[in-house]
């Protein structure tokens, strides 16, 4: 037998399934075990996980640090809000289709400009472009509602009428939670395939060594552009899913600190691993909620945690666990 299948099997990404499947079961059962508020918080975490996964396709796999991902999240969210305001759409599926279309258009335009640059120039460009969108949302009061934002009522899911007798919390913590979970799982599977595809390998090659990647025949800009597009669309989907949970779309989600939060959650979980951004998004969501309830200086608390992370856990939560796991296994196998 050839050695190759053994080599591939030893590092097969399918090896995550034995622990991923029980986690999925837990995510399905959790709403029955925790209160609705906690379930809604988890839904926030999961949808931010989709956004962070998209963001990490650029940072972790392509080596491009975007400081402007609030733009695509905001585009997804505002697409939903504007569809309701002007087209009176109430279907979540149509909202998502509109959000995907809008984020494809905006990501394509921004990506066309940004992928010509790398490092700090790329970061600054993405930041500047996101600020352009923020200022539009902030100033175009007649269209965007300015700082008042745009209110969006609870949508219909899969064309079905709501069966929660008008209890919005119940709807968000049950039907909508499972809707978000479904999209989350679909996005995780798609992103997992993308990063383990020949295209994903090419992105990692570009991240590691641009010159060599070019000299094996990879079109650097073209691949970066596609990665940018996929990244923007994932973040746009997250933005669209966020709207029904929040009920209101405001310019805050287009502002640069929100881009910082996406960077924060990815670094928190670990950008060198596939699952890191997901874990980071869920943990960050709980962390932020707890911090806001704990002190009025919650930003200072989160800032301190970020400093601690960079200094003590540079590989993030998942990276640290991955490093510790062999030692723990060794200890218990004695």
């Amino acid at each position: 037998m050839s050695t190759v299948p053994l080599v591939l099997h030893a590092r097969s990404p399918a090896k995550v399934l034995p622990w991923a499947l029980p986690l999925v079961v837990v995510l399905f059962l959790l709403p029955h075990a925790i209160d609705p508020y906690q379930t809604i918080l988890l839904a926030y975490g999961l949808l931010m996980g989709i956004g962070a996964l998209g963001f990490n396709l650029l940072l972790g796999y392509t080596g491009l640090l975007s400081f402007g991902h609030s733009a695509y999240f905001g585009v997804g969210a505002y697409a939903v809000a504007l569809m309701f305001k002007y087209l009176h759409v109430q279907s979540m599926e149509l909202y998502l289709a509109g959000a995907i279309l809008a984020s494809v258009v905006v990501s394509a335009i921004f990506g066309f400009v940004c992928v010509r640059y790398t490092r700090i120039f790329f970061g600054i460009l993405t930041l500047a472009l996101s600020q352009v969108l923020w200022s539009l949302a902030f100033k175009f009061y007649p269209i965007t509602g300015g700082t008042d934002g745009l209110r969006v009522p609870t949508p219909t899911l899969l064309g079905l009428a709501r069966d929660d007798k008008g209890d919005k919390i119940l709807f968000l913590a049950s039907n909508y939670y499972y809707y978000v979970l479904g999209f989350f799982l679909a996005c995780v599977v798609i992103m997992w395939i993308v990063v383990n595809s020949p295209f994903g390998k090419a992105l990692q090659a570009i991240r590691d060594n641009e010159t060599r990647a070019e000299f094996i025949g990879i079109h650097i800009r073209r691949y970066r552009f596609v990665a940018f597009l996929v990244s923007g669309v994932f973040t746009g989907i997250a933005g669209a899913l966020w709207v029904p949970l929040n009920g209101l779309t405001t310019p805050d989600i287009l502002y640069w600190p929100f881009s910082g939060e996406i960077v924060f959650m990815t670094v928190l979980g670990g950008f060198r691993t596939f699952t890191g951004p997901i874990v980071g998004a869920v943990v960050f969501n709980y962390l932020k909620t707890s911090a806001v309830g704990f002190t009025v200086y919650w930003q200072a608390l989160l800032g301190s945690i970020l400093v601690f992370l960079v200094l003590v856990l540079p590989t993030g939560i998942v990276g640290a666990i991955t490093q510790l796991l062999p030692a723990v296994r060794k200890r218990f196998s004695r």
Partner: protein
């Protein structure tokens, strides 16, 4: 028959004439050594032919086709590949991934966004076989950033070789490795190149390596070609020995 021909190829950097009107030919199947002191223009010439640099003037014809204005990608597809003086690898990927990526790119499979790379078993088999030819199969799962300099040099050549080029430029394949490692590296590289009838151009400073492994030697000096000939002819060439080698061989 000439595989490649440059005509009056010129590239200046300010007042420095890195490559100055060079007429350079490479025959099919040759193993040619490009020698010269630092700054002679060897790497600049290779950079111009491989597409890393654009010439100020002159032309490059490869297999009868003018490739002067072609992109790096198109030159690779035409059959020109290269390794680098400072090893250029994908350090956070395994040795197997490094070589497989060349094959994925060569077969235009890197466009595939929604299919698993590991399903392309033929690619991995070929990548593993390439590593075996270079004596690196035992380390196939290791990260490229974690192997010795000699192994990195070999892997750099293997990555270029996996593109199945017609013309392969090897920019100082033994620089930075111990004297003991040089011969094994060159033995492996030249035997693979010759057995697959790949035309190779080796830039090298070590004259023992140059004289032992090349069919023809081209000596460069200050951006121009000083001499061209067989190893014996170059050994006897007074201009070369005076300018480059420093001692007159008997």
């Amino acid at each position: 028959m000439n595989l490649l021909q440059t005509t009056k190829l010129t590239r200046h950097f300010g007042d420095t004439r890195a490559v100055d009107g060079v007429d350079f030919t490479i025959g099919e199947g040759e193993v040619l050594a490009l020698i010269g002191s630092n700054g002679a223009g060897k790497t600049s010439l290779v950079n111009l032919i491989s597409g890393l640099l654009r010439p100020d003037s002159g032309s490059i014809v490869f297999r009868g086709e003018d490739v002067t204005q072609m992109s790096v990608h198109d030159r690779i597809m035409a059959g020109i590949a290269r390794s680098f003086q400072l090893v250029n690898l994908f350090d956070q990927l395994s040795l197997l991934d490094n070589v497989a990526l060349s094959i994925f790119a060569r077969e235009d499979l890197t466009r595939k966004l929604l299919s698993l790379a590991d399903r392309q078993l033929a690619v991995w088999e070929e990548a593993y076989e390439t590593l075996r030819q270079f004596g690196l199969d035992g380390r196939s799962s290791q990260l490229a950033g974690g192997i010795s300099q000699g192994e990195r040099k070999l892997l750099d050549v293997a990555v270029a070789y996996a593109l199945r080029p017609r013309l392969l430029f090897l920019d100082e394949p033994t620089s930075g490795v111990s004297t003991r490692e040089k011969a094994p590296i060159m033995d492996v590289v030249t035997s693979i190149v010759r057995s697959h009838n790949i035309t190779a151009v080796i830039i090298e400073h070590d004259m023992d390596v140059v004289f032992k492994y090349s069919d023809r030697i081209v000596a460069m000096h200050q951006g121009t070609i000083l001499a061209s000939g067989t190893p014996d002819e170059i050994r006897r060439n007074e201009a070369v020995t005076t300018t480059l080698i420093g001692t007159v061989h008997a």
